[in-house]
Symmetry: C2
Subunit: 327 residues, 2 copies
DNA sequence: AAATATCTTGAAACGGGTTTCAAAAGACAA
DNA sequence: TTGTCTTTTGAAACCCGTTTCAAGATATTT
């Protein structure tokens, strides 16, 4: 591999000068600059990032940790994050924690050791305070909060409001027997949403009725079957999210139930797929891209030494489509 | 930040000894080892990866470049790659080229400069021979081939056979007016598939009839509308891939056309979603996970100094589901 | 023309681990 | 006890860009 020394020798200047040409950190005599650029082009010299990172203590990387690469919600987030990072000259290292706590901790540590400039964490359930505190680099959580810790900056949407909105809408659509698919309560988002649901139940004097369901479509298929067995009178389902709503529809269809005539469904997230489905899914929309973009901007501001707001909550919005009786 | 020197001082040994404890590269007196481990634990020392990478000339990273993070096909690939890499103690840096040639070249260069150990490239269309050749690290292409270049190792599936299979199946299902949605012919996969389709047309004396369509669902929606206008007699559609098949169904449904009664559809890829859809998509399955896993194994074998097979082609398989008249 | 200010440049130090190499320590045999 | 062999250990060199600092070159002022 050709090193900066060789380039310097060939261009008859010092390594310092080559470095200055590469980074534009100081003025260089025009003639020398051209010599250097010529040599770089001819030799195909590529500076070693590890050396640069070592000195600068920054790899110019933003680390993103998602619980599951395969989940469209996280993909849409990741896409927005990547775009915003790229716009600002940062690169992305996307890590998959596979909903596995050990892996998640490993990834946090690793990014820290790599001299990443910051971490955007779409976290799993457990308490990561220790790992986050031990990081020399800033961490921002996105969509989900680190348990028991308001110190860590967090970008999320109004899950409580979303939970309310979904329930109120189903009631207003005439549903009498609504079942709530409750996501694992270790997740702050799931807790908030559930609370919204409960509060509406109380206000409207409806008996709460939930069944647990993971955010993955696989579990959606299983839980919907159980739901139908246990509650044959059901006429409205608050799906854990859009992917689950898709599997709910599939199971209902298999059982010969008509949507929205017999049973109405509302999802959560508004992933792109929800409007591509037939029927299109009525859902509570989170501003996915905006949230991803905001997380990056927050991180960059922090790196810039600016003060940042610790908690940012984005509003959600009801999107009425075809799995409910339009009203 | 605490450095290895500080750890050494606190444990009253030399940095070399600490390094040996960390990496297990040589025997260390039991008592000293324990002192070192104690200090590491107490101080939370994390070795600097940049320094390590600089010396070792390996970041212990596999770079993966995908054309679009949001595409489920690539996500399923990425997931398999990540899993296999993780199993072998490698980390992943996932780059998104956004179907943009400049970005793709940047990503290749960047990974090379970062001392990644290898690149798995799910490439865009253009000729990347130059960038790939200028890399000091090995590159393996996955799913798509680098144009005009059989030197670069490549893992892909039997697109030609898949093209044939899909066409033959639709004919056997009784379709008389089949339209082929032809993906951009810059992609080797698309060319091969098209050739398979053409060969069957010739053999069966069917007039070939294609319309162009990108691999994204957005374009699927647009092209299906055009298709219906241009060919109202259509009764069978070879969708560019499963995502497109989903949008084809959506548009047909909107027009009141029944699938498979009026029009039959076959997709390509067998992404997870294709069986989650209602109706479930009949498709030509690529062994997505196996291909991702194979690409990683190939790379690791190469890094191990072993000889590798330059071209690996996986068989495809017809999966009959609900968008065709089962036969 | 001399003196001062400004700009350009290269040598050397630096970042923080890893490895080599030779010395020191320990084990074993004569 | 001395000599030989093996093992453990630390000092120093190394990986390769970046930056500092002071010297050399050039420009400006008096």
């Amino acid at each position: 591999m050709i090193r900066i020394r060789e380039v310097a020798k060939l261009a008859e200047v010092s390594p310092s000068t080559v470095s200055r040409v590469l980074n534009g950190t100081a003025k260089v005599n025009e003639e020398k600059r051209q010599r250097v650029e010529k040599v770089i082009k001819e030799t195909g010299f590529k500076p070693n990032e590890a050396a640069r990172t070592l000195f600068k203590k920054s790899a110019h990387i933003i680390g993103v940790i998602v619980p599951n690469i395969e989940n469209p919600f996280f993909n849409e987030m990741a896409k927005a994050i990547e775009a915003e990072a790229y716009r600002n000259g940062y690169r992305l290292t996307l890590c998959n924690s596979s909903d596995n706590l050990e892996k998640e901790k490993n990834n946090i540590n690793l990014l820290d050791r790599m001299n990443a400039d910051g971490i955007i964490l779409l976290t799993n359930q457990e308490d990561l305070t220790k790992e986050v505190k031990q990081c020399k680099i800033p961490v921002i959580t996105l969509d989900r909060q680190v348990k028991n810790n308001n110190e860590v900056a967090c970008v999320q949407s109004d899950h409580y409001g979303g939970g309310r909105m979904a329930m109120e809408y189903l009631i207003s659509c005439g549903c009498k027997h609504i079942i709530n698919m409750q996501a694992p309560q270790e997740l702050s988002s799931a807790r908030a949403r559930y609370q919204g649901y409960l509060d509406v139940c109380r206000e409207r004097k409806v008996e709460p009725c939930s069944i647990l369901c993971q955010y993955q479509y696989e579990d959606g298929l299983i839980q919907t079957e159980k739901l139908l067995q246990k509650y044959p009178e059901v006429d409205g389902i608050l799906a854990a999210n859009d992917m689950v709503a898709i599997s709910v529809y599939k199971v209902l269809h298999k059982h010969g139930l008509k949507v929205p005539k017999d049973i109405q469904i509302i999802g959560f997230d508004n992933i792109n797929l929800s409007s591509l489905m037939t029927p299109e899914i009525t859902t509570i929309a989170q501003p996915i891209s905006e949230m991803g973009t905001e997380a990056v901007q927050m991180l960059l501001q922090y790196l810039d030494g600016k003060e940042i707001q610790k908690q940012t909550i984005f509003p959600v919005e009801l999107i009425v489509r075809e799995t409910t009786k339009n009203k």
